[in-house]
Amino acid sequence: MIVITREDFSVDEVLARLRTSEMGALVTFTGVVRNSSRGRDVDRIEIQVYEEMARRQLEAIREEALMRFGVEEVTVIHRHGSLKVSENIMMIAVGAAHRAEAFEACRYVIDEIKKRVPIWKKEITPEGDFWVEGEP
């Protein structure tokens, strides 16, 4: 499942929907707003998304993870809008028969999101607002 939303999510609820009796391993990654970045205090962040393209890219990455690692299910939730320190930004949940492929698939999904899903963070700090640019 792929979700792009302004709303917060519950890790427990996501796992409850994801899990099946075939799974022996559930791996999750949760990205959270940190209170500092590159030597500056961060008050909050704003996340902008090119939603149609982000959804297609996330669907493609999910399919790749399912095929490459043979995991049972992958869910990605990514928020946008204004988020305060310690709020959830995004989560990945992977359900698999065994832990090795669950960890690998989760790592693959976050690495690909960082490369090719059109979502951008802006850090709101006491020194001004700064867009975060990823590696091209």
């Binding site: 990205g31 996340i47 902008q48 998304v49 090119y50 149609e52 393209m53 982000a54 297609r56 990514h78 930004i89 995004m90 976050i110 999101i113 960082k114 490369k115 090719r116 899903v117 059109p118 979502i119 951008w120 963070k121 802006k122 867009w131 975060v132 640019e133 990823g134 590696e135 091209p136």
Partner: protein, 80 residues
């Protein structure tokens, strides 16, 4: 022909618009569109890494544009 150009993140702030419709020559490519935008938007000339998508897929400079295409311009992504 007419295309739609969408801008995101720092590019949106440079241009001052989230999107615009534009009439471009029939043989336009991504490269020719970007040159034209740089002529009218000076800050865009200093952007080192400008990424481009056409109709929701990443595209390179040689990509030819067609009637009704939606072109998106944005900096390297920073989600996750």
């Amino acid at each position: 022909m007419r295309i739609k150009v969408r801008y995101f993140a720092s590019v949106r702030e440079m241009i001052g618009l989230s999107e615009e419709e534009m009439a471009v020559p029939a043989d336009s490519t991504i490269a020719s569109l970007i040159e034209r935008l740089k002529d009218s938007n000076e800050p865009l000339r200093h952007m080192r890494n400008l990424l481009v998508a056409v109709n929701g897929e990443f595209a390179d400079a040689e990509h030819g544009l067609g009637e009704g295409d939606v072109v998106a311009l944005f900096p390297p992504v920073s989600g996750g």
